[in-house]
Symmetry: C2
Subunit: 404 residues, 2 copies
C-alpha cells in the first residue's frame, strides 16, 4: 500500500498545516525535517542516535547508493532499511540532482541561484542528455552509466525506500526561460514514464531482483524554475497525474527571498490533499518560511555538514543560528552549545570540551555536533507542529526570526 496523508490542523494566518503521513515503516508527523544519509549512513551517526534525536524519516541518495554498493546488493541484503539498520521511513531521491550536478558543476549552488556557475554549460565529454535519459560518468571510477526514468525507478525499487522520487532534469538557474520551458516538457514526459514504470513494477513485478519493499509511494516533482506560468503549469500537470505526493524541485531562485516567491507561486496550484516536499532546503529561516507557505517536508545535509565543519546550530538569529565552536571565546566556556537544547551533546558536554575536540581534530567532535544539529532542527519542527496545533505558529515564527 502507498502512504496515506491526513491533515489534522491548519493555521488560520498562513498556509501552515499539521498532518500525519503513514507508511509501512511507521508514521511521520508533518511538517517534518529529514536528515540526509547519502551513502546509507547519516554521516557519523547511528540509526538509534538519529531516531533519538527526533528524526522520523531520512533521505538516501540514489546516485551514490547505485554506484556504491549498488542497488542489487542492497536488495540482496534485504533493502536499505535492513542494510543500514534504520527501521523508520526512508525517502530516496531519483539521482537526477547529482547527475545534473556533474553536468553543470556545483548544482547545489546553481539551482538555488546562489552564484553564477562557470560550468553552467553541458560538458559533452562528461555526460549526454537525450529524450531517453542521461549518460554520465561515475565520480568513483569514471565508468559510464545510463539513467533513464525507468532505470531510476528500478534502482529505487532495489533500494526499497518508502517514498521514491521521479527522475527529472535540473536546468541551472541561469538557463533562462526558453531552456527551462523546453526542459520542463521533457521532465514532464520523464515523470509520466516514471509513474507508468512504477505501476508496472508494483509489488516487485517485472523486476530482475526481489524488491525488498512492496509498499513504496512515488512522488512527482514540480519544476519551472523561477517562472510563474511554468511553475503553475507544472503544478497542475504533475498534480493531476496521480502521484502519492509532490516535491518542489529545480531552480528555486537566486536568494532566500526568491525561494519564498517560487514556493508562493507554486503551492496554491498543488493539490491540497498531497504532502509537499521542498527539496534540499534546511536553514532555520527557510524551514519556518516554507512551513508558512504550505510545505510539509524538508530535507537537507546541513546539520551533518555543518557538524563536520565545526558549526553548531543555536537559537540566535543574529548569528544566522550558527556558532563556530572553534571560536577562542569557547575555550573555557562551561555551558552547553545551546541552553535550551535537550540533546545528548548539550546534556553532557561543555562548549569548552567540544571546542577542544575540534581543535584536536577528534572524530567525537563531529559526532557530537552532528547529533546536536540534527536534534536542533527536529526539535524546531516539533515546536512548529505544536504551535500550529494551538494556533500560535505566527508567534513562534516571529520569535525565531527576530533579531533583537
Amino acid at each position: 500500500m502507498p502512504l496515506t496523508f491526513d491533515i489534522t490542523h491548519r493555521d488560520s494566518e498562513s498556509r501552515a498545516r499539521v498532518g500525519v503521513i503513514t507508511t509501512a515503516h511507521g508514521p511521520v508527523e508533518t511538517p517534518v525535517f529529514m536528515p540526509v544519509g547519502t551513502r546509507g549512513s547519516v554521516k557519523s551517526l547511528t540509526p538509534e542516535e538519529v531516531r533519538d534525536a527526533g528524526a522520523q524519516i531520512i533521505l538516501g541518495n540514489t546516485y551514490h547508493l547505485y554506484l556504491q554498493p549498488g542497488h542489487e546488493l542492497i536488495a540482496q541484503m534485504g533493502g536499505l532499511h535492513r542494510f543500514m539498520g534504520w527501521q523508520g521511513p526512508i525517502l530516496t531521491d531519483s539521482g537526477g540532482f547529482q547527475v545534473f550536478s556533474l553536468i553543470y558543476g556545483g548544482i547545489a549552488d546553481e539551482v538555488k541561484g546562489r552564484r553564477p556557475s562557470q560550468h553552467a554549460q553541458l560538458k559533452p565529454g562528461m555526460v549526454k542528455v537525450t529524450e531517453n535519459g542521461v549518460i554520465f560518468r561515475s565520480y568513483i571510477d569514471g565508468s559510464k552509466h545510463l539513467f533513464t526514468p525507468e532505470r531510476s525507478i528500478e534502482i529505487q525499487k532495489g533500494i526499497g525506500a518508502d517514498i521514491i522520487l521521479c527522475f527529472d532534469e535540473l536546468p541551472p538557474f541561469r538557463a533562462g526561460y526558453d531552456y527551462t520551458a523546453r526542459s520542463l516538457e521533457r521532465t514532464h514526459r520523464w515523470e509520466a514514464r516514471c509513474l507508468a514504470f512504477h505501476r508496472q513494477t508494483l509489488g516487485g513485478a517485472n523486476l530482475s531482483f526481489a524488491a525488498p519493499n512492496h509498499d513504496q509511494s512515488l512522488f512527482g516533482i514540480v519544476h519551472g524554475g523561477v517562472f510563474e506560468n511554468l511553475r503553475r503549469a507544472s503544478a497542475e500537470y504533475i498534480g493531476g497525474l496521480g502521484f502519492d505526493g509532490l516535491c518542489i524541485g529545480g531552480s528555486l531562485g537566486k536568494d532566500k527571498q526568491q525561494i519564498n516567491e517560487v514556493v508562493d507561486m507554486t503551492v496554491p496550484h498543488m493539490p491540497d490533499a498531497l504532502p509537499r516536499h521542498l527539496l534540499g532546503i534546511g536553514d532555520v529561516d527557510d524551514l519556518l518560511e516554507g512551513v508558512a507557505r504550505g510545505i510539509d517536508m524538508f530535507d537537507c545535509v546541513s546539520p551533518t555538514r555543518l557538524g563536520r565543519h565545526g558549526a553548531a546550530l543555536v537559537r540566535d538569529a543574529n548569528r544566522k543560528w550558527r556558532l563556530n565552536v572553534q571560536n577562542a571565546s569557547l575555550r573555557n566556556d562551561p555551558g552547553p552549545l545551546d541552553a535550551q537544547c535537550r540533546c545528548y551533546t548539550c546534556r553532557t558536554y561543555s562548549r569548552a570540551y567540544i571546542h577542544h575536540l575540534f581543535r584536536a581534530q577528534e572524530l567525537l567532535g563531529i559526532r557530537l555536533l552532528s547529533l546536536h544539529n540534527v536534534e536542533f532542527l527536529c526539535a524546531l519542527m516539533q515546536e512548529v507542529r505544536a504551535s500550529i496545533r494551538v494556533g500560535r505558529f505566527t508567534e513562534l515564527r516571529r520569535t525565531w526570526l527576530s533579531r533583537p
Copy 2:
C-alpha cells in the same frame, strides 16, 4: 586515599591472578585492558559506549593533554573526568614516552624493538635531556617546553587521573647496555623526585591551581631494557620506594618472544602485593602471555587505531586476530564481524554494511569498528578473569592461541 589492590584468585599453572583495584572513581577488576583516550577522547567513541563495551578504566596522555587544551584548563573545568564525561577510573602516563618519541623518532616501534630506527640518536636541535629534565618542542606549534619529574606530576595533578605515572627516560632498544644502565640510574632519581613531589602535593597542597582529584595514586616504572640484571635491580629499587603500583616500561625487546622474556625476568622481583602494568602492549597473544606472566594491567591504542584503519579483531589466530573489512570477500557477507561477539556492531550490522562504510569512507565505519575492537579486548579479559577464577586459564590461553 590511594587505591587498594586485593588479589582474589591465583592460577596454579602460571603467574596469572585475579584482583580488584579500588579507586575513588570505582573498582577495576584485573587483569584489565584499558583503551587509550589520548586527547580526552577514546577516538570516535562516547564515554557511555566505552563503558558499555566493557572498559573499566581508560588511559589519557599527559603530553597531548598538556599541549592541548592544557592541564590548567582541565583543572578549571573540574578535571578530566568531568571535562570528557568519563565517570570511571582514569590513568595518565607521564609524558615521557611521547617526549622521547620526539627525540628518537618512532619510539613505539623503537622501544618495542620492532625495527632499527634511523633516528636512534638525540636530535639536539629538537630537545635536550639534562639531570633536571627534558626540553622539547610542541608537535602543534614548535614552541619550547620543559618537562621535569616535578612538572610531570604537577600536570598530572591538574588533569586529575586516579592513577598517575612517574616521569622516566625511554632509551631506545639499540642504546646498548652502557647507555641503558646510565639512563636507568637517572630514571631512578627522577622517579624518587616524582614520589617526593607527589607526597608534597597530596590533597592538592602546594599547587597553583585547585586539584580536581585528591585521591590519586602514583605508580613507579621499572626499566632496564632487555638486560636481566638491570631489570632485577630496577624492580627491586622501584618496588621498594613505596609506590601504589608498578609499571614495566622502556624497551621490551625486538619481538614478542623477547617481550615475554623481559616480563619473565622482571615480574618475580616486583612486590607481589602491587598491581603490575605492562605499558603500551595490546595484541591478543601479548595480553594472554602477559597475564600468564603475572601482569595485571594493559593499555594500547590498538583497538581504536585498527578501527580507523579498517581492521576488525576476530577469534582467529591464523589471521593474527585481524580481519580487513575492505576485503572483497566481505562485500555481500550478511554475517557479523565476529560470530561470538556481543557488541553493538556485531548485534546490529553485517560485514557487508561495514565493508560498504569503509569503501565509502563513512565515519560511522570507524566508530563501529573501534567499538567492536574495544569490546573484543575487554570481553577477552573478562574471559581471562573468569577462567583464572575457575582454574581453566591454561585451557583458555591454549584455545585462543591455537592455529588449527
